[in-house]
């Protein structure tokens, strides 16, 4: 990590529209730049601004991030074309500690754009697939067309690498090709009927605040050790280095001490979720 506030240039090598609102941007730097799963970077659109974004996995030449057009700077980002230069700072924060997952079943629960960091984690797990037991991915999206990386996940499910279940908030009608969509409703409903071995499972959760409110304690109540239930928090992380104070919660700098925390830590941070 560099604490410098001066970005380094990165090239947008590929831009893939994921759904109507989200795009996957693949970035490449001239010097090696490794972002671990759960870590984040600060992306600069020159002249417009900077925003924090987590890695959605590494690529052959760099890494990818999934960005939703939600504000002024992301709107400017969406105006950029392949080959253009953006600024990059980081990587920042404590990501997922893979040793906490090793030798255990892995339960990944994502809501909405929260799938992006978990995809990064999933990719890291798949690097050494044999070190882990079952990998279960539960993913809730608004509508079927909002399911990001759907083909990729369905392929992994089809060849047995991961167990996959989608839920959607709305769906007019589930058709033939919707095999992995198991429920219309909250992603937590997907937990029902899962044959989990709580004492052998590590969970990672990422999604909007409302997701954390219901899912984390529910996981604990199934018997999973709160030290092995991880969530990644979203705050207004500006500097990434614990200096600017924007993301501080309960005295903890989310950008530097997090953004990945286990449930035990979160329980001692009032207001964190």
């Amino acid at each position: 990590m560099s604490a410098s506030l001066v970005p380094i240039p990165a090239t947008l090598v590929r831009i893939l529209p994921e759904d109507p609102e989200n795009r996957l941007f693949e970035l490449q730097t001239t010097t090696p730049f490794h972002v671990g799963p759960g870590q984040f970077v600060e992306l600069t659109v020159p002249g417009s601004g900077e925003f924090p974004v987590s890695t959605a996995g590494e690529t052959a030449t760099g890494f990818a991030t999934c960005i939703r057009q939600s504000g002024r700077v992301t709107a400017a980002m969406f105006q950029l074309d392949e080959g253009m230069i953006v600024g990059l700072r980081g990587p920042f924060g404590n990501g997922f500690d893979l040793t906490r997952f090793a030798g255990r079943d892995v339960l990944l629960i994502a809501g909405g754009l929260g799938i992006a960091p978990l995809r990064g984690l999933l990719h890291a797990l798949l690097e050494e697939r044999e070190r882990y037991g079952r990998i279960v991915l539960l993913y809730g999206a608004r509508q079927p067309e909002n399911i990001l990386f759907r083909e990729e996940f369905e392929e992994l499910a089809a060849n047995g690498t991961v167990e996959l279940r989608f839920s959607v908030d709305f769906a007019p009608q589930l058709g033939e090709g919707d095999g992995y969509i198991c429920s219309v409703g909250l992603v937590t409903e997907l937990l029902q009927g899962l044959q989990l071995a709580p004492d052998a499972t590590t969970a990672a959760v990422c999604g909007p605040p409302s997701l954390y409110g219901c899912v984390l304690e529910q996981l604990a109540s199934t018997g999973i050790d709160p030290d092995r239930i991880f969530a990644t928090l979203e705050r207004r992380m500006k500097c990434g280095t614990g200096q600017c104070c924007h993301c501080v919660c309960a005295g903890v700098t989310i950008c530097r001490d997090g953004p990945v925390f286990c449930l035990t830590e979160l329980r001692s941070m009032p207001g964190a979720i």
Binding site: L5, E50, I85, R235, R236, C244, T253
Partner: protein, 319 residues
């Protein structure tokens, strides 16, 4: 560390010496009776070492600092700052520099400024607003003037004393009491537990109900270091970014994408500031960064006082 008794004209000579290599600034009382740090041309007999409105922080962590300019697809940091000497820094502000040094330990731009800054400390003359915490270790300084004595704290300070050897009379023991005479109440014990127990809203919301949210307290604080970054296009067509002082009293400070505000009321914002000052954030948890200069108390248009918060915590029950 060396200590010497100095001759009467030591200060003016020191200033002369500094002016050869540094831009020299010091506290100057303006026509409006406000004391500010500003460039010093000459030593005035009436030089007054009162607390400037804003501490030496403004040179280390400027309110508006260029971070980079884009040039042909790269991000160019600004040229290095000039060598600067600040004369007449009271010890509370020196302790504040020590805190900032650690906050920005990994920040190359800050460190570049810091290494180009020479600090000449001075025994302070406390105002009625001061409430310094007890101190047993010296703050950082290159030179420190204690009435008719001078101490050196760095090789740079040693070198200056060598150059001014003819203004020194004799070597002395350094027996300075770093605790200011305007000593404030000590922090209550078990502060973290008291803090957790005092999450009750009523006290903070009562204060928040008076607070204007103007941010004056943070703006004048020598250790407040929240910042924001602003991007723009300069007249030449380059993208530039500035680091600017931010303020935890501003409504959008803890606003996240999607519109959730983690500090939705002025009471919550005041509590956040007190938490930062008294309990510290992140790696500084457990360390108070309040140096007791009293600027925030003096600057508040509605007389909100951090000591009031401290009293509240002290008097509150611990579970």
């Amino acid at each position: 560390m060396d200590g010497f008794v100095v001759k009467a004209d030591f200060l003016p000579r020191l200033l002369q010496q500094l002016q050869e290599n540094y831009q020299v600034v010091g506290p100057v009382r303006g026509e409006d009776d406000v004391c500010r740090l500003q460039p010093l041309d000459e030593w005035s007999e009436h030089q007054e070492f009162s607390l400037p409105r804003i501490s030496v922080k403004k040179y280390l962590f400027p309110p508006n600092e260029l971070l980079y300019t884009t040039k042909n697809g790269t991000f160019e940091p600004p040229p290095p700052p000039e060598q600067m000497a600040v004369v007449g820094v009271p010890s509370c502000d020196l302790y504040a520099v020590d805190f900032l040094d650690r906050v920005f330990a990994d920040d190359p731009l800050y460190q570049r400024r810091r290494s180009n800054l020479l600090l000449v400390g001075i025994t302070c003359h406390p105002s009625e607003d001061c409430f310094c915490p007890p101190r047993d270790t010296p703050p950082p300084f290159d030179l420190f003037l204690d009435e008719e004595r001078v101490f050196s704290g760095t090789p740079r300070g040693d070198e200056l004393l060598q150059q001014l050897g003819d203004r020194l009379i004799g070597e002395v023991e350094i027996d300075h009491d770093w605790t200011c005479e305007a000593q404030g109440p000590p922090l209550p014990e078990n502060l973290e537990r008291r803090w957790a127990a005092n999450e009750t809203k009523s006290f903070w919301e009562e204060i928040g109900g008076r607070c204007l949210g103007c941010g004056a307290c943070s703006a004048v604080c020598p250790t407040c270091h929240c910042f924001d970054m602003q991007d723009r296009i300069d007249a030449a067509g380059n993208a530039v970014r500035h680091r600017i002082w931010d303020n935890c009293f501003f409504p959008n400070f803890a606003l996240v994408a999607g519109g959730h505000d983690f500090h939705p009321t002025r009471g919550a914002r005041f509590r956040f500031r007190c938490e930062h000052k008294l309990l510290g954030f992140g790696v500084f948890r457990g360390e108070s960064s309040c140096v007791g200069c009293g600027r925030c108390r003096a600057a508040c248009p509605v007389q909100i006082d951090i000591l009031e918060a401290l009293d509240h915590l002290r008097e509150g029950a611990i579970p």
